[in-house]
Amino acid sequence: MADPTITPELVRKHNLTLEEYARLREILGREPSYTELGIFSVMWSEHCSYKNTKPLLRTFPTRSPRVLVGAGEENAGILDIGDGLAIAFKIESHNHPSAVEPFQGAATGVGGIIRDIFTMGARPVCAMDSLRFGELSEPEVRRLFGGVVAGIAHYGNCFGIPTIGGEVYFDKSYEGNPLVNVFCLGVLRHEQIARGAAKGIGNPVFYVGPATGRDGLAGAAFASQDLTEESAEQQRGAVQVGDPFMEKLVCEACLELLATGAVAGIQDMGAAGLTCSTCETAARAGTGIEIELSRVPQRAPNMTPYEIMLSESQERMLIIVQRGREAEVQRIFEKWDLPWSEIGTVTDTGRMVVKHHGRVVADIPARQIASESPVYEREAREPGYLAAVRAFTLAGVPDTQDPGADLKALLGWPVIASKNWVYRQYDYMVRNNSLVCPGSDAAVLRLKPDSLPPLRVPEPEQPFEKYLALTTDGNAVLVYLDAYEGGKAVVVEAARNLACAGARPLGLTDNLNYANPHDPERFWQLRESVRGLAEACRALRIPVTGGNCSLYNQSPAGPIDPTPTVAMVGLIDRPEHITTQWFKDEGDAILLLGEPVNFADPLQGLGGSGYLQVVRGLKTGTPPQCDLEQAQALHEALHSLICSGRVKSAHDCSEGGLLVCLAEGCLSQNLARHTSRLIGATVDLRLAIPAAVVDRITAEYLEEQLAPGSTAASPAVDSAPGPAGAARGEPVVDAGSAAAESAPELVRLDALLFGETQSRVVITCAAEDATMMIQRARLLGVPARRLGTVGGDELAVQAAAGRWSWPVAELHELWWHSLGRAMG
């Protein structure tokens, strides 16, 4: 079959600009062949080349003393966790395939990220998923959501990896363009780090895994364009089909093979399949590679070189073997009954040469195509909608009339409701290491000797245990409303979740999901939020070890909200420090670390809140400021308190604010099927005025008491002067009469209960420890106060405006079953 003639139309169809085509001709010094055009189109797609995001990605901090393999060097970053052990982890998106075929799209997303991890020589030991869908009232959204969850379950469960954590948000902006980001973490010894480099001139190149078919043709290119009806239909064939059974065999065989020392380089065939793996391994090693396509196992008859090179058939690996040790490789693949073939050799030419039955079909300088892709500085312009967002005030929003109804609405909101409908479909316990399962702020995973890859000669097992905390986060509404502050908040929330589990962060991997970068307003969102992410990473000293960019997330219905998701991993020193979010014992004291309300914020934490979205139908308002120093102080203080051994529970205050946080403390301990352990709480939020105000009142009170001839003062709280914010001249509600009011009444009730002011955590401890904990937190620069007491079977709240109580069983019913009911 003759190759098609290359025309401008054909170039456009390959998603290359005419300028990029000209550059390609310049690199080759001639017209490309059809196969070469295909190779360039995938290698220079955003998915493979990061051509629109490189300048932004460079702003992330990527170094720390723990970083053994940094961002962009290899398939995944690697961090030292002490004692000669290391972890490899990464998050990756499979958004467009999942929009077209949710089950297989999501399943192969899991397969792809697992391969990225064992390619590094690490044994994959856990997964997480970060998902975004439209609203569940839409049947199509339910189909996508159900399909994606089933696909992740299918692949992860069969492979035998616990999907131990994750998150799901539902928002109209993802209708038609769901996001499926999957994370995998693996463990290895320092000396077991494998490299994706084609080292050693003359070394044979092996292909391992199932035969190559026409499935997944040019998936990377598909992922790098807007999703339209037409493209989805055309690309239905571009979605690959996953086989987790095969992946499990390939993984075990590769780890066994790596232990022999016979492997010079290894790389999975992920996006852009054979093209990307051959080209990148040669580029990394500064060598060349020559392959013969007729030796590639093929599933379909008469496949063209173009198809073989661009296929994204799953579960395939490229392995460069030390010459003379081929027999060892063959023995291991035969043990695991895996198809393999020797398809080429490493050369010294620096070129990637592809032959088909002896005829050269591509001959390209490897380094130039892999690392000299075009880089674009896109135009950025602040989106028009932000003017209205900034102008929004609470003036036209009456305070809550029925906190109970609002609380119930929020607990039943799919974004906040229990995600048990999702995670009960995942085997989150396999491998016997899941110490904190889905349903708390962060998952906790233990590592033990059988978490490691095999050694060549089994050694007597050195017993060890390590404890990792893991979380994924990304509240995109905050990013949509303020890209910079929202970007910071994403990183800070993840770090806060780890702190609540008793961990210190080691590093993070990010998945940047955005709309079309050619739209200046969309690119501005990307640029500004990356600025926020990077600044937060620097302030909290958390390196970015790698990640993934997924642009072009827009469907005919419009662009998605800018959605950076981060997966963060932390280390817990001792098992006693592992902390969960649910309240433990009757009589325990409930403390709030952080300010109940930030009076400097005119919206008192309600901008972008779940409350405004659910109760008021408003997705607007400037989100709460994210002060990085405060955040760091909170995380450090919390860690110190947890290390004192006195903290019984810790829960991060985020979507739904303080009242939802308290409710979740009462509701979220699940013991077994249909058996949750519910416990009530009584809190008094009249005391919840800023520490600065309390301090000033106290000082004034003491002054009065000590002043000669003074009369006894009235109770301190009631005589409180204006709040700190008002004192700084910030407008608060009815600022004119602020000084005359008592402080608690200056706080809107809805803001007090449901505001999402940053950097707050609710902890519990034994009542006798409460004072010591509060003092210790304040010493560490974190406002702290007691809110109430755990116990009973109701959640009871006293505020200045009244007292309410709700049976926890009733709240639990709404929260636990909401998602299942929505899915029918």
Binding site: C158, F245, K248, D427, M429, A672, R673, H674
Partner: protein
């Protein structure tokens, strides 16, 4: 006591079984499915996972592995065999246990903690489990709905071959307590000779405080107790 833990392609709870048994002070080794002998073992665990990808039917291909021929002999000679999850499915496919495990009635995979009532202490797998104490163990399966015809069910009940049933926290056999819709809430059974048993829940995932439950130890302790009595020339124990 030495345990053999069978390893099929895509077994994935094999290491967990070895880990749990070693932690309880026993020796345990993986036995590759192409190996055709089980002579060293005092007892055999057929672990969970997705043997051969569970293609065709769960356990349907695994039963043809060479090691399964050895297992038939081992069982015929009275050796203790415990199948867990996929292992239970394989034992049913291999006709070492009656009945079959079909898709959960929810049509979804279920991973959660469940409660288990031990229906009889009269077996090598239950003799050390206190009566009337619901065990809390994890399940993680998509095809755990036990099915058998009426005659088989009647026979199982009459012979006290039903070892474990799903119950609620109070020990009641309610419909809701079952994660998969099994007939008679059956979670695990044994053969007529009482030396081969299978269950869907995972005792090997519940053998240490850090994992939230140690109830799984009771099942292994029962097997050990039986093996020790046999080694001492005593008969099979009962509760």
């Amino acid at each position: 006591m030495h345990f053999a833990v069978l390893q099929f392609p895509a077994s994935n709870c094999d290491q967990d079984a070895v880990y749990a048994l070693r932690r309880l002070g026993h020796t345990a080794e993986l036995v590759w499915h192409k190996v055709a002998t089980l002579e060293q073992a005092a007892a055999v665990i057929v672990p969970g996972g997705f043997s051969y990808g569970d293609y065709l039917r769960t356990g349907a291909i695994a039963r043809f592995s060479p090691v399964m021929q050895a297992l038939q002999t081992f069982a015929a000679n009275g050796g203790l065999v415990l199948g867990i999850c996929n292992g239970f499915q394989i034992l049913c496919e291999a006709h070492l246990l009656p009945g079959a495990l079909v898709r959960n009635r929810s049509l979804q995979f279920r991973c959660e903690q469940i409660f288990l009532r031990t229906a009889t202490g009269d077996s090598p797998f239950t003799c050390r489990i206190p009566a009337d104490r619901p065990l809390r163990l994890p399940v993680a399966h998509g095809e755990g709905c036990y099915y058998a015809d009426d005659a088989t069910l009647t026979e199982l009940a009459a012979n006290h071959q039903i070892l474990w049933q799903y119950c609620d926290a109070r020990g009641e056999l309610t419909d809701d307590a079952s994660p998969n819709g099994s007939l008679r809430n059956i979670a695990g059974i044994c053969n007529a000779q009482r030396n081969v048993a299978g269950l869907m829940p995972h005792p090997e995932r519940a053998c240490e405080p850090l994992l939230g439950s140690e109830d799984g130890c009771l099942i292994f302790a029962s097997m050990i107790h039986t093996l020790e009595r046999r080694a001492a020339g005593l008969g099979s124990p009962s509760r």
